[in-house]
């Protein structure tokens, strides 16, 4: 058997190395030593255990007949005056339904980095949160979060698609 042609002298060294806990590769002139690696799947060092998630829950209704999306201009993080009446309607609804919660989901267009866009989307969501706060909606009923550029309303790289994706969506729970 070929395994016996390796040098016996180094057995002790290999054993010592194993005690220290390093090394799954063995010098060619040493005795081959098995090492199953760290506590991992099926004794394999490179195995990965998969995790599958299922779809999340839907949302409940908010005010009837009121727009749920606030659009923003390019590189802008302030609510345009034309959306004031929409925010008024949401504020009235929230103040009369105090058990209802709303999530303000900020979004950006696809240009630029994912994390920086997440921060920019947060800026838009926070702008809507502040606007609703000025209309008397308690902070406890609102959460401003961001999806960055991860959940575009419209696919594509046109100016039109960009404009539809720069938005805050109001989602009721």
């Amino acid at each position: 058997m070929k395994y016996f042609q390796f040098n016996r002298m180094s057995l002790a060294l290999v054993a010592a190395a194993l005690v220290v806990g390093c090394s799954s590769g063995v010098k060619l002139n040493d005795a081959p030593v098995s090492d199953q690696g760290a506590a991992s799947t099926n004794g394999s060092q490179s195995a990965v255990a998969p995790v599958d998630l299922n779809a999340t829950q839907g949302t409940v209704q908010g005010p009837v007949g009121v727009a749920r999306i606030i659009y923003f201009d390019f590189d802008s993080y302030t609510v345009k005056p034309e959306f004031q009446s929409v925010l008024d309607a949401h504020a009235r609804f929230l103040k009369s339904h105090t058990a209802t919660r709303v999530t303000l989901e900020g979004n950006t267009d696809e240009r630029g980095g994912r994390e920086y866009n997440l921060a920019l989307g947060q800026k838009r969501a926070d702008a809507v949160r502040r606007a609703l706060g000025l209309l008397g909606v308690p902070e406890s009923q609102m959460e401003a979060v961001s999806f960055g550029k991860e959940k575009p309303a419209v696919q594509g790289s046109s100016e039109d698609a960009y404009a539809k994706n720069r938005r805050v969506e109001l989602t009721y729970h």
């Binding site: 070929k2 395994y3 042609q5 390796f6 390093c22 090394s23 799954s24 590769g25 063995v26 010098k27 060619l28 002139n29 040493d30 081959p32 030593v33 098995s34 090492d35 199953q36 690696g37 760290a38 506590a39 799947t41 099926n42 004794g43 394999s44 060092q45 490179s46 195995a47 990965v48 255990a49 998969p50 995790v51 599958d52 998630l53 299922n54 779809a55 999340t56 999530t103 989901e105 240009r111 630029g112 980095g113 994912r114 994390e115 920086y116 997440l118 921060a119 920019l120 947060q122 800026k123 926070d126 959460e143 401003a144 979060v145 961001s146 999806f147 960055g148 991860e150 959940k151 989602t171």
Partner: protein, 431 residues
Amino acid sequence: MMFDHLPKPPLSRRQLIAFGLLGCGLPAFAQFRVEISGVGLTQMPIAIAPLRGEDASPQKISQIVMADLERSGRFVGVDTSGAQLDEASRPDLAQWRERKADALSVGSIGQLADGRWDTRFRLWDVVRGQDLSGQSYVVTRADLRLAAHHIADYIYEKLTGERGIFSTRIAYITKVGSRYSLWVADADGENAQSALSSPEPIISPAWSPSGSQLAYVSFESRKPVVYVHDIATGRRRLIANFRGSNSAPAWSPDGRTLAVTLSRDGGSQLYTISSSGGEPTRLMQSAGIDTEPTYASDGKIYFVSDRGGSPQIYRVPVGGGSPERVTFQGNYNISPSVSPDAQTLAYISRVGGAFKLHVMDLKSHTATALTDTSNDEHPSFAPNGKLIVYATRQQGKEMLMTTTVDGKIKARLAGQGGDIREPAWGPFTRQ
């Protein structure tokens, strides 16, 4: 000082790869595409003989080794047809000199009684006629590619004096249809295994220093939340799920702390939090956006801030203090990745509407663009500092590329269909 075991071969023995010879002569088994540019680039010719017993083994070890070495841009394969050698052979080196090989690797592979595989190889310096020793790996079938990558690492280090990264792993995200998955693959993009699959986006994977865990941002609860995920067991724990958005995790070098971006106190601001969870500590306070923290070996946290009016890269001591601006060219510099020796910064800079991978020498502050593409994202340094993996888009498709730090050698990573993004290069693994 490690080597120069191999004598400098005369120039005629080295290959001069001129611009335009893109990918010529690549063996058919290579599933990646290597692009080489730049005149006068030298590559060492090396013969990787098929291992004795390889025909009966589940992985063609010698082909994986050769593909690794060629992707580094430092080696070119020499024809090994007719070779019948193993690690116990005394090869006729004169014959390999005739074939213009500077180095030769030989070995064997066989299955043990318990089902595992014993892979052995020996490296020869053909020019000097020297035995450069070798290794033996006894592994499960699932780890045979890993054994091949360890062989490539051994050869690469013996012949270049630098540590190889072929046995490291890369994490990335795919979007196929409406499904998002987090993958862990070999550094050549092969052997991808799914760690997480979700109907909602996943972004910003970050390896723990030990290489056993990934932190990332998941939108599975319809908001960005930071998880730490043990990849061998699939066990996940929530690290940051505070009011508002939780994102941009980065591990401290000792693995005990994560830096994260939280909006819980208004705005996107940097915090540190124990990697076992708990109450976050605010790192700094700014009026604008602070995000994308990353720990560097110079004791600083590099991050992106728009405190000066446009997004720029800054650095601040790990314990907090006064931030120092690092990038000055252009009005959009994001996604910092610092080389392991903290000498080089890789980042994305917007140039005339295009987002391009750049590197900056942190001493001279000289910045260089590395790519011809215009939608580069998320650079991540290899643990030996010689390569950078990044995401880009070509013909409307998202893909991953690696590049040398000088931009001269690029390779597209193998991978499945759909959009591939958010690469993170893992740490060195045990040898």
